[in-house]
């Protein structure tokens, strides 16, 4: 613990890099997966194909990807962009499955009613389906954020910055305090972001927190709603 306190500035600096390297791919992944995920939902085969490709992409070991990206993209091996590209692949692979699943969670009768009122497809997706998919989508985004935060540390093996450097350096110097500091910093960062995304998700979906008082009334109406049509 002593080491962490003494080198707090260094840790803070590495945390900044770490955050940048893990959250930028998440943002890029969202920008790609939300429109693509919404479009492929309409076609069963496009959805299945995407699922297969995404599953394969996610099975590539991260270290292998970190090493091959520079060869494919023509970048220097130590360029941080390699990590950003690799993690964007993972983030997109996860999110492109999460987006259609989140859209599936929207009640079909709401979508049907929106269509019958005269929403065009694009407008309905953007203003009705995506907002209503947010609770499930937020859960997916939280998984990706935490996954990225832990994967960035692997990048330190090939010399990319971030909190993972505390592991590699501590291991080389046989200095457990530094390794421990790295673990603590990464866990705190992951927990913090998980909680922050949860809160953002709640703020974006105020209607999910509204439960009216008088629970018994709800029960009678539910049972009445259950009658056959």
């Amino acid at each position: 613990m002593r080491w962490l306190v003494d080198n707090f500035d260094t840790v803070l600096d590495l945390t900044g890099t770490h955050l940048y390297l893990s959250l930028l791919p998440l943002l890029i992944g969202l920008v790609i997966a939300v429109p693509v995920g919404s479009i492929i939902r309409a076609s069963r085969w496009a959805r299945r194909l995407t699922l297969v490709v995404a599953s394969i992409a996610f099975t590539i070991p991260s270290l292998a990807l970190f090493v091959t990206v520079p060869l494919i993209a023509g970048l220097r091996i130590l360029d941080p962009l390699n990590v950003v590209i690799a993690l964007t692949v993972y983030s997109t692979a996860l999110l492109i499955r999460a987006v259609p699943e989140a859209l599936d969670s929207v009640p079909p009768d709401v979508v049907d009613a929106a269509t019958a009122m005269g929403f065009g497809r694009f407008r309905r997706t953007v203003t009705v389906e995506l907002p209503l998919a947010l609770p499930v989508l937020t859960a997916g985004v939280r998984v990706v954020a935490v996954t990225n935060i832990s994967l960035v540390s692997v990048g330190s093996v090939i010399g990319i910055g971030g909190l993972g450097q505390l592991f590699t350096q501590g291991y080389q110097r046989n200095f457990p305090d530094q390794i421990l500091a790295g673990i603590i910093a990464i866990v705190v960062l992951a927990l913090f972001f998980d909680a922050a995304l949860y809160l953002v998700g709640r703020l974006l979906t105020p209607w999910t927190r509204t439960r009216r008082s008088g629970g018994s009334r709800v029960v009678t109406e539910r049972s009445a709603a259950g009658e056959p049509t």
């Binding site: 009613a113 009122m117 005269g118 209503l132 209607w207 009216r212 009678t220 009658e227 049509t229």
Partner: protein, 382 residues
């Protein structure tokens, strides 16, 4: 006007939902599609706003084939209400109601202002406007659903079993509200239900659909009840159809008799024979319940009035129909139906046998009118 011309809908699995439907829906009329599950009534309705495309045949709205109209524009001009309202859960009540005006380009501020007026029209308090749908009762949600359909003032309203998910008391309120609104607005309404009672209560015209999507009868409610076109219609409208038919007969000639009533506070002073009943009324003369000898003993022993009276039967409102009159009499524990004025105060008592006598008299008059019409038109036609 909406016109179905030889419309058939077959689903990919081979089932025929609607079979060669020819139907003209009159402008400004309240038309009810009724039938058992899977009879094609909802499918038929959803073909009007192109939510479902027919396999063959054509549907015209105001003389135009709907297949030639842009579906989004078509739907914006047709109000739509479904079971459990189908409200957008992430938008407040006022924004839900403002949905279609905003879609058609009205500014949000203007659309909200108009939405508030529509909410008032369907009997919703302005304080509910900023709530989310989940914060409303089922009945309130359904009213918001109706308000949303009316907001853009479309000439046509499609309603798919809108009131079947609420309890019977709320349903009756909503039905009355719907009739009141329709009297003002005179929209062309297509209303789908599986409940023949609801169909009879609301419809100017009823289309009865049978299994396999075949239209069985398209007629006024009293004609559907009094002369079913097919065995299917006869069995669908049910064994109670004679009784239901009474609701189209005027009950104003039912004789009313004076009732023995008492206020709750003076109930102990009443004297009753073993088979006698007395109607307990409140300070405004409105009925509270019937009390017999046993109940009277209970009151004298110190029990409350509510514990000691049998709940009253249904009430016959002034100007009601024969069905209400007969039901008031046979649902009353004393066998005497209670007629009430508009303010709810007791008007008099009804005897069931006398209700049936009124029915017999009305039928007699109708029969003689028919035979006179026959003899008058007979020679001319010959």
């Amino acid at each position: 006007m909406i016109r179905f011309d030889g419309v058939t809908k077959q689903f990919p699995d081979g089932t025929t939902a609607v079979d060669r439907l020819d139907l003209e829906i009159v402008e400004g009329a309240f038309t009810v599609f009724v039938g058992p599950s899977g009879c094609g009534k909802t499918t038929s309705m959803r073909m009007i706003n192109r939510m479902i495309a027919p396999s063959s045949g054509r549907i015209e709205v105001d003389g135009r084939d709907v297949a030639s109209v842009d579906p989004v524009a078509l739907r914006r001009g047709i109000g739509y209400v479904i079971q459990s309202a189908g409200l957008l859960p992430h938008r407040t009540v006022v924004d839900n109601v403002a949905t279609v005006p905003v879609l058609t380009g009205t500014s949000r501020r203007q659309a909200r202002r108009e939405a508030m007026a529509v909410l008032e029209r369907v009997g919703l308090d302005a304080s509910l406007a900023t709530r989310y749908p989940a914060q409303l009762s089922g009945g309130q949600q359904q009213r918001v659903g109706v308000a949303r359909a009316l907001a853009a003032d479309p000439p046509i309203l499609l309603m798919d079993e809108p009131f079947s998910a609420v309890d019977p008391v709320v349903r009756e309120d909503l039905q009355k509200e719907m009739l009141r609104l329709q009297a003002d607005l005179e929209k062309t309404i297509v209303f789908v239900t599986h409940d023949i009672d609801e169909a009879v209560r609301l419809g100017d015209r009823i289309a009865v659909f049978g299994t396999g999507g075949v239209l069985q009868q398209y007629d006024t409610p009293d004609r559907v009840l009094s002369s079913p076109a097919t065995d299917f219609v006869a069995s669908f409208v049910g064994r109670d159809r004679g009784y239901r038919g009474l609701s189209f007969r005027d009950g104003s000639s039912v004789p009313l008799h004076p009732l023995s009533t008492t206020r709750a506070e003076s109930a102990t002073e009443v004297r009753l024979e073993p088979s006698e009943w007395v109607l307990v009324v409140d300070e405004a003369d409105r009925p509270r319940g019937w009390m017999d000898v046993t109940g009277l003993e209970g009151v004298r022993a110190g029990h409350s009035i509510d514990e000691s009276t049998a709940a009253g039967g249904s009430l016959f409102p002034e100007g009601g129909d024969l069905r209400q009159a007969l039901d008031a009499a046979i649902s009353s524990p004393s066998g005497i139906g209670v007629a009430v004025r508009r303010d709810g105060s007791v008007l008099g008592g009804i005897d069931a046998t006398e209700v049936l006598a009124v029915l017999a008299a009305q039928r007699g008059t109708e029969a003689s009118e028919r035979s006179r019409a026959f003899t008058e038109s007979g020679p001319a036609a010959g």
